[in-house]
Homo-oligomer: 440 residues x 2
């Protein structure tokens, strides 16, 4: 993409309304624009990041055997009356009357709708296990939306729903998502720690929040520091092998890890002193087994091998891609701007032409641009007539992992400069060597 | 994808509520499920088709130089009060009050919001031309939603907005979209004919509807039959060359073509008799130049080269991917089911194992499945224990372009059967030859 034809509205001033660093940086980098309180438009750079996050989430959901669907945003209130949640949900639910005065709502989540789909089509244990997910906009009418897309009213959510015949197979489904989440966060460049969460009236220990550590996190968390070095499962993990999944889950739940709400000071003190980690954390995922909570009142039953009808056992599994964009920035930035992990950088490479209009510099940049394009590498080519200092600042602010800096002086010796955003290292080397370094 | 692990809820009976063939087939093929009147969930097969349509639309928007963003579904009423449309829009607009009693709405379109974004960031003629698009769910509260996703209340729309300094450059932007639309519909397997549409108070002739011919179309259309054989622009068309674009637009608007509303019987009669085409049509796209209709009241101005501030000239360009899924079926089906064009088929290949459990047949199918996967070809492997007749019916109903039929009898001679859905031709040939035929 040529920056001269792109839409990248960089803000040079720090926006006053933004309280946390990710919000400030997303506004300054031209990623988002607030349209109403807690409601944002994603500008081109932000949209690219959001898409890349969604693609990682999607690939790992698919790998685990979950199947993608797409449910609508607007739901009928009647569906929520069946589960009893219409009255319970409170003011966070955006309630709507359509032109025929029917009660509708903008879905804050989809347990009811998914249960209705299961009830309509799934009749036999032979149709199970099943895990359906979608990535769709949700609305929760927070009293005080804040922190940009970290706590917005309209937000993007990947929500998956597992459907199984009984508790034992539901646990396998739960473990599949547990492992898929470990892989997802690892690929997003995050070290997420699963922490036991409240299961409410269901009981049991099949509810985990995945928390990343960041100094601006919303809550205090406590865990064994070995979590930071723990291996995540590889892409060869067999999601059809319940024993293999259980082994991974056991390892990842073997050490102490808890949020404030579930914190047990005595258990924490039992960790050897040098390995106690107490830090701020941001919730980036939540998985939850809820049994027959919806299938019973909504009568979503299947016939078992014995022919007897029974309500299905379900769980739900959420990740918020819009919130993740902010959470990743909280975990990865410096005073100059964002530092994107390569997997979700809006462009992998920034190509900085320091003297637009100089024939040799232009020609060198065009050649590099064409070469990267031919290798399907996303590159943002700064072909504007801004000063070099401004180009450096923009490239650092928007956090592109690699910067190729091309100017007439270096080119006279056949050299360009290659900068890594992550550690700021710069080296001078021939064009071919710079490209080889990037394409690795 | 193995059908045994997929979620494909085929209906054997013809749904009573569906009046048109695309609606019936989408329900029967397990593509969609109605959740409320005019509101649908996209089941896995439907979601795949919708994604493929969106990808074609996106690729052609990007090729033309348009830039993707993503605006929210919920908008502030105040924005619409600025343009004066809040009161004009009528009951089709889904009006909402949030918990603070603020007037909000579910966007039926985004001219106001886009104009607000332009107003916020675009200050100079040097930032133009600009074309921003998004693919987002819209809501129009139709009195009587019907025909499935062809006329639904919640629907997916690609809407692009061009922003230019003056009328002349706005026409170039219009022509870019005109050409991009020709290419988009061609790639979707549709023959779409641009027809002059009403421009309302703006006047001029820069508004076209793109219409495909289908016997179940909603309106009567009249055109010269040469449109059916007209070449669409190739992928090498230069969107930076205004003259080249104008030549294409001139050719595609040189012959008579009109919808009922704009029909001129005398002009139609002037076409030589054998070349007059009168048929039913479905609108699949609409492009529209509206000048300063929003930029003036909303004060979206830029400084021209002379330093004088002036309101920008804008146009909007819509395609409905959810409606297109139905329109394509209307245009491409037979008595057995859907006939997908290859570009948007949910799977390019159906692999039918006629004797699951037979070691040789299973092994042959697994080998074919692995081979297609290694070539990144989407394949739905019917590994269920259904009867062959049922498998044939399903493959035809869901309309996969290629079917590889594998049974023990053929395999004894090293042969499989290859069927093309489009024309029903079947041939018996060795596995390698069948794969070569599919992969071209």
């Amino acid at each position: 993409m040529r920056l001269s034809r792109y839409f990248l509205p960089i803000l040079r001033e720090v926006p006053k309304e933004a309280e946390i660093v990710s919000h400030r940086l997303m506004l300054r980098a031209g990623m988002i624009r607030q349209e109403s309180a807690g409601i944002y438009a994603w500008l081109p750079l932000g949209k690219r990041v959001l898409d890349k996050i969604c693609n990682v989430v999607r690939e790992e959901q698919n790998r685990s055997g979950a199947i993608e669907i797409l449910m609508p945003t607007i739901q009928s209130a009647d569906l929520w009356r069946e589960s009893g949640r219409y009255d319970d949900y409170g003011k966070e639910m955006l309630r709507i009357k359509d032109r025929h005065e029917r009660d509708m709502l903008f879905g804050p989540t989809n347990e009811e709708m998914l249960t209705e789909i299961v009830r309509a089509y799934v009749k036999s244990y032979k149709d199970l296990p099943l895990n359906l997910y979608h990535i769709q906009w949700k609305f929760r009418d927070e009293v005080r939306p804040r922190f940009g897309v970290m706590r917005s009213r309209e937000f993007l959510m990947k929500d998956a729903y597992s459907v199984d015949l009984d508790f034992e197979s539901a646990v396998v489904a739960y473990n599949r998502m547990f492992v898929a989440y470990l892989r997802t966060f690892e690929r997003l460049g995050l070290k997420a720690i699963p922490m036991v969460a409240d299961t409410g009236p269901i009981g049991g220990n099949h509810s985990h929040e995945f928390i990343i550590l960041a100094s601006t996190g919303e809550s205090q968390v406590f865990c064994h520091s070995d979590y930071l070095g723990m291996d995540t499962p590889g892409s060869d993990v067999d999601f059809q092998d319940p024993a293999a999944l259980q082994t991974i889950v056991n390892r990842w739940t073997s050490l102490y890890a808890a949020t404030e709400e579930k914190h047990d000071e005595a258990a924490f003190e039992a960790i050897p002193e040098g390995q106690r980690l107490s830090a701020r954390g941001i919730e980036v995922g939540h998985i939850f087994y809820f049994g027959t909570k919806y299938s019973e009142p909504m009568n979503a039953t299947v016939a078992g091998p014995d022919g007897v009808e029974r309500p299905v056992h379900m769980g739900s599994y959420g990740i918020g891609p819009s919130r993740l964009a902010a959470a990743i920035i909280e975990a990865s930035h410096d005073e100059n701007g964002i530092i994107w992990p390569e997997a979700i950088a809006p462009f992998r490479v920034g190509l900085l032409n320091l003297k637009v209009g100089d024939a040799a510099t232009d020609a060198a940049c065009e050649a590099i641009y064409a070469e990267l394009a031919s290798r399907n590498i996303d590159v943002l080519y700064d072909d504007t007539d801004e000063r070099p200092g401004s180009k450096f600042a923009t490239a650092d602010l928007i956090g592109l992992p690699w910067q190729i800096i091309v100017g007439p002086k270096g080119l006279a010796n056949g050299m360009v400069e290659l900068k890594r955003r992550a550690d700021g290292t710069r080296e001078t080397l021939p064009v071919a060597a710079a490209l080889a370094r990037i394409t690795g």
